[in-house]
C-alpha cells in the first residue's frame, strides 16, 4: 500500500505540503462560512461579509425551527432516507448474492441493464414516473405521488445499481468454501447467505448503506416535484428561508449545518468501511 521506506526527496515533500495546505483551505472555506455566518445576527449577514463575527449569537439556531417547520422536514427526510436505505441494502444483498454465487440464464443482461440505468438522465424519467405514480393512485388507491412511500420507492432504486455492483465484487471476494461448507452442513442457501456471506461482507454492506443514505438525503429534483406540504423533505424545505423580502442567510447557514451534521458525522465514522468496501468491491 505505502511506498518504499526510502526517504522522499525535499521537492516531493514541499510540493505535497503546499498542495495539501491549499486543498485543505479550499475544502474548509465553505464550512467556515457556514459555521461563522450561522452565529451572526441578520444585519451582519445582510451587509458586507466579515471574516470574524463581531456580535456572536445563537439566535439563528433557535429561529430556524419556527421560521419553517424544520423538525417536520427533518423527520420526513429521516423516514424517507432511512427506509430507502434499509430496503435498498436488503434488495441489493439478494441480487448481488444471486449474481455472485449462481450461474443462470440472463445474468449478463441483468448486470448490464442494472448498470446502464446509472447513465439515464433523471430528467428523462421524472415526468413519466410522476404520471405512473398518479395513475397507480387513481386506479388502485395506493397513494404514491406526494407520499413518502413514492419517494422511498424512487430513492431506493437510485442507489440500487451501484449497491448491487459493489456488493457483487465484495461477495466475490468472500471465499466460496465458506458458504459451500455451510450448505454441506445443511443450511439452506438463504441461511448460508445470512449466517456466512453477510457477516463476512459487513464492510461492503456498511459502505453500500452509507452511499444509499447519502443519495436519499441529498436528492433535490424528485423531492421538489413529488412532495407536498406534509411530506416535504429537507432538500426542498431549506428553500423556505428565502422569502420575497428577506433572505435569512444566518438561518440558512444554521439549518444547513444542522441537517448536515447527521450525515457528515455518520459518514466520517464509517468512511474507513467505505474505502475498504470500494477496495474489495468496485475497484478491482
Amino acid at each position: 500500500m505505502s511506498r518504499s521506506p526510502m526517504a522522499a526527496p525535499r521537492s516531493f515533500l514541499w510540493t505535497r505540503r503546499v498542495f495539501l495546505t491549499l486543498l485543505t483551505g479550499f475544502v474548509l472555506l465553505p464550512v467556515y462560512v457556514m459555521v461563522s455566518s450561522s452565529l451572526k445576527p441578520l444585519e451582519d449577514v445582510s451587509s458586507r461579509f466579515h471574516w470574524l463575527p463581531s456580535n456572536l449569537t445563537v439566535r439563528p439556531y433557535i429561529d430556524i425551527w419556527s421560521t419553517v417547520p424544520l423538525a417536520k422536514y427533518f423527520l420526513n427526510s429521516l423516514i424517507v432516507a432511512g427506509a430507502a436505505t434499509v430496503c435498498s441494502v436488503v434488495i441489493a444483498v439478494f441480487a448481488a448474492y444471486a449474481v455472485s454465487r449462481y450461474e443462470f440464464r440472463g445474468k449478463r443482461v441483468f448486470s448490464v441493464t442494472v448498470l446502464s440505468t446509472q447513465m439515464f438522465p433523471g430528467i428523462l424519467f421524472l415526468l413519466p414516473l410522476f404520471l405512473i405514480y398518479v395513475n397507480i393512485g387513481n386506479t388502485t388507491g395506493i397513494a404514491l405521488f406526494g407520499s413518502r412511500g413514492g419517494l422511498i420507492l424512487t430513492y431506493l432504486t437510485f442507489s440500487l445499481p451501484f449497491s448491487i455492483w459493489m456488493l457483487i465484487g465484495y461477495f466475490d471476494s468472500v471465499p466460496r468454501d465458506l458458504d459451500e461448507a455451510a450448505l454441506v452442513d445443511g443450511c439452506g442457501p438463504l441461511r448460508a447467505l445470512f449466517r456466512v456471506v453477510v457477516p463476512a461482507a459487513i464492510p461492503g454492506i456498511v459502505a453500500v448503506a452509507v452511499y444509499a443514505f447519502m443519495t436519499a438525503w441529498g436528492e433535490v429534483l424528485f423531492a421538489s416535484v413529488m412532495t407536498n406540504d406534509a411530506t416535504r423533505t429537507l432538500a426542498v424545505g431549506l428553500q423556505g428561508y428565502s422569502t420575497q423580502n428577506d433572505v435569512y442567510w444566518n438561518q440558512i447557514m444554521a439549518a444547513s449545518l444542522v441537517v448536515s451534521v447527521p450525515v457528515v458525522a455518520g459518514f466520517l465514522l464509517l468512511q474507513r468501511y467505505l474505502v475498504a468496501g470500494l477496495t474489495a468491491g468496485a475497484v478491482k
Binding site: M1, S2, R3, S4, M6, A8, F19, L20, L23, T24, F26, V27, L28, P30, S37, V45, I91, A92, A95, A98, V99, E103, F110, T117, Q118, M119, F120, P121, I123, L124, F125, L126, L127, P128, L129, I132, L156, L160, D172, P175, R176, E180, L183, V184, M214, G218, V220, A235, I252, S256, S260, F267, L268, Q271, L274, V275, L278, T279, A282, V283
Partner: protein, 354 residues
C-alpha cells in the same frame, strides 16, 4: 534473464488451463432443482423496482417524445395526439430559437463537463498520491477531504450561493475589498461569471469522489513493485510516473466514465445554485430540459430532448468503452488472473467438500 521468462511460462500455462476448473464449478451438489429458481427469486425485487422506476418510465418517456403533449393532456397523456418526429425536428432545428437554445445548452454542458471532470480527476489523484505514504495527521486530513462529498448537496451548494452573493458574499469581499483585483464587485450568479461559479462548486463537490476511488485503487498496487523500483534506484517522482499512474489505469477508466455521466446529468448543483432559471452561460442541459418541460409545459418537446440526451450519452459511453478496452491489451490478462482466482477458490471449496 532468459531463465526467468522460461520459468514464467508454466505459470501462464496453468492460467490457460484453468477453464476445466470453471466447468467443474457448474456441476452442483444435490438440491439442484430447488436452486434453479432461486437466483431468479433473489433478483426479483431488484428487477421489479428497476422496471417500475427506471425502465417503464423510460419507455413511456420515449413514447411521449412522439406526442404533442402540452398542459391540456397532462390528466391523461395517452390522449395527446401523435405528431411524429415534430418534437425532434424542432429540437434539432438549430436556426430556430428552440433548437439554437438547446445547442447552446449542449455546448455549455460539454465544456463544463470536460473542465469539471478533468479538474476533479486531477485534484483527486494528486491528493490520493500525496497521501499514499503515512504521515502525521493523514487520517484527519483524509476525513476532512471527504467532507464535501459527505455534505448534502443543497446544504453545500447553498453555502456557495451565499459566498457568491454580490453585496454580502465572501468571494467579492476577498477579490474586491481585500485584494482589490476588481474595480467593482462582480456578479457571480448571473451573466458570464456564473459558468466559473458553477465550475468551482462542481469541482469542490466532485473531487473527493475521485480521491476516494483512487485511494481505494492505490491499496491494490502490490508493495513489492515499489520496493523493486526503489532497489533499482527510482526516486519518488519516477515511482509515481512509472508505477502508480500506470497501475491506476483500470480504476481511472471506470472513474472517468462515472464522473462524466454524473457531471453531464447533474441537476442538483445548478438548481440549488441558480434556482429554476439558470443564467445562459451556465445553462446545463438537465436544467434546460426541466425548464422546457415544466416551465413552458411542453412535455413532448422535453421528452424528445431527454431522448436525444440519452442517445448522446449511449454513443459516448459505448465509444469510450470500446476505445478504452481496445487500447488496453493488459485487460485480457487481468481477466485471466481473475478467472484463475475464481476457479482456485471453487476448487478449494470442492476439496473442503470432500
Amino acid at each position: 534473464m532468459t531463465t526467468t521468462t522460461a520459468s514464467a511460462q508454466p505459470g501462464e500455462r496453468t492460467a490457460g488451463t484453468s477453464s476445466p476448473g470453471a466447468a467443474r464449478e457448474r456441476r452442483r451438489p444435490p438440491g439442484r432443482i430447488r436452486r434453479i429458481g432461486l437466483p431468479y427469486l433473489l433478483l426479483l425485487p431488484a428487477l421489479l423496482l428497476e422496471l417500475l422506476v427506471h425502465l417503464v418510465p423510460m419507455v413511456i418517456g420515449i413514447v411521449m417524445s412522439f406526442k404533442e403533449l402540452t398542459q391540456f393532456y397532462v390528466r391523461d397523456w395517452t390522449l395527446a395526439p401523435w405528431n411524429g418526429l415534430d418534437n425532434y425536428s424542432m429540437s434539432v432545428d438549430f436556426d430556430a430559437p428552440v433548437g439554437a437554445a438547446l445547442l447552446h445548452s449542449f455546448l455549455v454542458t460539454c465544456a463544463f463537463t470536460v473542465l469539471s471532470v478533468g479538474l476533479c480527476w486531477l485534484i483527486g489523484t494528486a491528493a490520493a498520491v500525496c497521501m499514499q505514504d503515512a504521515f502525521r495527521g493523514r487520517g484527519l486530513l483524509r476525513a476532512l477531504f471527504l467532507v464535501p462529498y459527505a455534505l448534502p448537496v443543497y446544504a453545500a451548494v447553498i453555502t456557495w450561493a451565499f459566498m457568491f452573493q454580490h453585496d454580502n458574499g465572501l468571494v467579492n469581499h476577498v477579490l474586491h475589498d481585500q485584494l482589490g483585483l476588481t474595480d467593482k464587485p462582480s456578479f457571480w450568479l448571473i451573466g458570464d461569471n456564473s459558468f466559473v461559479a458553477l465550475l468551482v462548486v462542481s469541482v469542490w463537490k466532485g473531487w473527493p469522489f475521485a480521491f476516494l476511488i483512487v485511494m481505494a485503487g492505490l491499496q491494490n498496487i502490490p508493495k513489492e513493485l515499489y520496493e523493486a523500483a526503489a532497489l533499482d534506484g527510482a526516486g519518488v517522482w519516477q515511482q509515481i510516473r512509472r508505477i502508480t499512474l500506470p497501475s491506476l489505469r483500470p480504476v481511472n477508466q471506470v472513474l472517468v466514465l462515472v464522473l462524466f455521466l454524473w457531471t453531464f446529468n447533474d441537476f442538483n448543483t445548478p438548481f440549488v445554485l441558480f434556482g429554476k432559471a439558470a443564467p445562459e452561460a451556465a445553462d446545463l442541459i438537465s436544467i434546460h430540459i426541466y425548464q422546457s418541460s415544466f416551465v413552458t409545459w411542453n412535455f413532448g418537446a422535453g421528452s424528445a430532448m431527454s431522448v436525444l440526451l440519452l442517445l448522446f450519452l449511449l454513443v459516448v459511453t459505448g465509444a469510450y468503452l470500446f476505445l478504452s478496452s481496445r487500447s488496453r491489451p493488459a485487460a485480457g490478462s487481468a481477466e485471466a488472473s481473475r478467472s484463475v482466482k475464481a476457479s482456485r477458490t471453487s476448487e478449494e471449496g470442492e476439496t473442503a467438500d470432500v
